[in-house]
Amino acid sequence: MSFFKKLKDKVSKQTEEVTDKFKDGLSKTRDSFTTKVNDLVARYRQVDEEFFEELEEILISADVGVNTVMEFIEELEMEVKRRNIKDTEEVKEVISEKLVEIYYGDDDESLEALNIQEGDLTVILVVGVNGVGKTTSIGKLAYQLQQEGKSVVMAAGDTFRAGAIDQLDIWGQRAGVNVIKHSEGADPAAVTYDGIQAAKSRGADVLLCDTAGRLQNKVNLMKELSKVHKVIEREIPDAPHETLLVLDATTGQNALSQAKTFKEATDVSGIVLTKLDGTARGGIVLAIRNELNIPVKYVGLGEQITDLQPFNAHQFVYGLFGDLMTRVENDEDDSDDKNN
């Protein structure tokens, strides 16, 4: 069975609804990418230098990142040479295959699920630079976990930004979840500590800790974050069970530097990729998986409480390159028929 068939089988096992929503949210992304690749393939009959150059541009325009793109193109060129591929239609399959390879790396798929401690308190710390969607994603996640029947508590660890506590409070009301808070200007480590105590004494299943946005080059602010992390570690062995780094899909190459620095400070275990409902493609997560091996766990597809989807690499890739693959796959069916 071809690679695409395997992928498609996996995807169709997911509930239709989720897959559709995912594809909808990604439609702009998918259209632009696949349209471009298909157009490219249609215009070039021969795989030559210019073809690769244009392919390089398509990938770069999705923010995949120069390093990853260069590596990718180099490998692709080698592969094309090795298999002696001349026809651009044929090269299409290799492109998708290789891209997906980067997404998966050597990872085990279960990495994409949240590390939930069944029957015990799970602490999730949410970090990231300013304005990426941390508080919103926490609100959405609280709602989702609540819907799954878990009892959730949130800690308003952003005591710095104007209105941050009110904002989380509103999300708490929307999700029907309690928010532990201090006043503005309080010590974030202290709020987090209180959050843990409250979650413990209430026997909650999940504690979601909001933090203030901070740029990764602010040494003091990163230290403050490490301190919050340490408080959690000290109170509960093995916690935080997840440290989610929120990345804005609109962000360019700086996202890689964000991932690196936040990983060092807080041992990031997963990524929430937000604002994928825009035209930005978030291709940088390819580079992040490729270079730092941090898996994406959720994607944000809007500002509503239900606009958070668990990330599933199969779906993502299918959503991103789906049309591209369907074509290849149909061709394959045709040739199968002929062979029979």
């Binding site: 702009k28 541009e57 770069i60 325009s61 999705a62 923010d63 120069v66 390093n67 260069m70 590596e71 630079v129 300013n130 304005g131 990426v132 969607g133 609100g139 710095f160 930004r161 104007a162 209105g163 941050a164 009110d166 904002q167 409070d169 509103i170 999300w171 929307r174 503005e184 740029l215 990764q216 080059n217 602010k218 804005d248 609109t250 962000t251 360019g252 190459q253 700086n254 996202a255 530097s257 604002k275 409902d277 825009g278 035209t279 930005a280 493609r281 940088i284 270079e291 500002e303």
Partner: protein
């Protein structure tokens, strides 16, 4: 990692290309390959990069390499010049309406920094221009957006007009203007909700606010970490709202900020301010020249180039002065001087800067405006090499040919020849009556 540190590689490549003379096509090719990667790595949109590289190639090949630079650095100089040109000059003025209040509208994607920058701008207007702004909370969507702006108002001790979250933004803005008029606020800054540039309903809403308010400024607030999509965002907001300027936020981070270049090149609108932190006094005028060097990540090479340039200017000025003394100053030199002067800025300002220039005899009939300069340039360019060095050989038929070649009249050619002679006389006077002050003045053609 195979492709780490592109700007380091750029430096490496630059070192490899040595030698003197003219910049060769091979030098340019090698350099632009690295420059291209560096720009892409800095998030400059790939289409913008493509155009830029094309122009850089055209401009750099065949250039004379400055004495204190290598060909590689010379190419970087062209890159810098191109980037600086594209970024434009510094423009941090804020409009003032004929009839107060002046209305400013803040727009942009979610989380870009609109609300924070609303507070910063108000602070800036009060502190630097002694204004009395009113802030308007017209974001009725984002949870606690109104609380956020009200908190900022409290921190600044400035009033905030709000109507909760059930009113619509057009009404809120209308009522805010009335309040501003009644309470004599000279500025009104409207914070709007973040929205995607492809969200038709919400973009329509902004257009309605615009039509109603007729704002004097519409600032597009953009996160400096934005990637390739910056062009789409800027293009959409600009085509739908005709923005008046851009404010780039979070430049206190370590992003290279190539989005700045992309936005400039697709909208042509000035980037007026830079957000340099979360605090309300962390707003600065945007410096396009510094941005150019930040994007390429080659600040040190840039200052090296600047030093080389000023050295060259000094050296040339010295040579020129010697020539003046010996009266061997030719039209060739004249042309070169004109080039230098043209790079220095508006001419009338320069003339005014010259000590005693307006009193000097012969200065009056030598008024220089830029149009005249281009005529002069054309005339000299139509002269043969020999004529430039030895103007005395220019007879009537030569004059006619020169006038024809330069699209001027014989009378104009005559005037220039006369002025040139006068000037040479004057220069001799100036250089021999040095009176203690040395150097200082290197505008011999005046």
């Amino acid at each position: 990692m195979a492709f780490e540190g592109l700007s380091e590689r750029l430096q490496e490549t630059m070192k490899k290309i040595t030698g003197k003379g003219k910049v060769s096509e091979a030098d340019v090719k090698e350099m632009t390959r690295e420059v291209r990667l560096a720009l892409l790595e800095a998030d400059v949109n790939y289409k913008v990069v493509k155009d830029l590289i094309k122009r850089i190639k055209e401009r750099a090949v065949g250039q004379e390499v400055m004495e204190s630079l290598t060909p590689g650095q010379q190419v970087i100089k062209v890159v810098r010049d191109e980037l600086t040109e594209l970024m434009g000059g510094e423009q941090s003025k804020i409009a003032v309406a004929n009839k107060p209040p002046t209305v400013i509208m803040m727009v942009g994607l979610q989380g870009a920094g609109k609300t924070t920058t609303t507070g910063k701008l108000a602070n800036h207007l009060r502190k630097n221009s002694n204004r009395n702004p009113l802030l308007v909370a017209a974001d009725v969507y984002r949870p606690a957006a109104v609380d956020q702006l009200e908190t900022l108002g409290e921190q600044l001790d400035l009033p905030v007009y709000s109507k909760g979250t059930v009113a619509n933004p057009v009404d809120i803005a209308n009522e805010a203007i009335e309040k501003a008029k009644a309470e004599h606020h000279d500025y009104v800054i409207i914070d709007t909700a973040g929205r995607l540039h492809v969200d038709e309903d919400l973009m329509d809403e902004l257009q309605q606010v615009k039509t109603n308010m007729n704002p004097d400024e519409i600032f597009l607030v953009v996160d400096s970490m934005t990637g390739q999509d910056a062009v789409n965002v800027a293009e959409s907001f600009d085509s739908q709202l005709d923005i008046s300027g851009v404010i780039l936020t979070k430049l206190d981070g370590d992003t290279r900020g190539g989005a700045a270049l992309s936005i400039r090149s697709v909208t042509g609108k000035p980037i007026k301010f830079a957000g340099m932190g979360e605090k309300l006094d962390q707003l600065e005028p945007f410096h396009p020249d510094r941005m150019a060097s930040r994007i390429l990540g080659m600040g040190d090479v840039f200052s090296l180039i600047e030093k080389a340039e000023s050295e060259v200017d000094e050296k040339k000025a010295k040579e020129m002065q010697n020539k003046m003394k010996s009266a061997s100053f030719t039209f060739e030199d004249f042309l070169e001087q004109m080039e230098q002067v043209k790079n220095m800025g508006p001419l009338d300002e320069l003339v005014n800067m010259m000590p005693g220039a307006n009193k000097m005899k012969g200065m009056k009939n030598m008024q220089v405006d830029d149009k005249q300069l281009s005529h002069i340039e054309a005339i000299i360019q139509s002269m043969t090499k020999k004529e430039r060095v030895e103007p005395s050989i220019i007879n009537a038929s030569r004059k006619k040919r020169i006038a024809q070649g330069s699209g001027t009249s014989v009378a104009q050619v005559n005037r220039l020849l006369k002025q040139f002679e006068e000037m040479k006389k004057m220069m001799k006077q100036m250089t021999s009556s040095k009176k203690g002050k040395k150097g200082g003045m290197n505008l011999p053609f005046m």
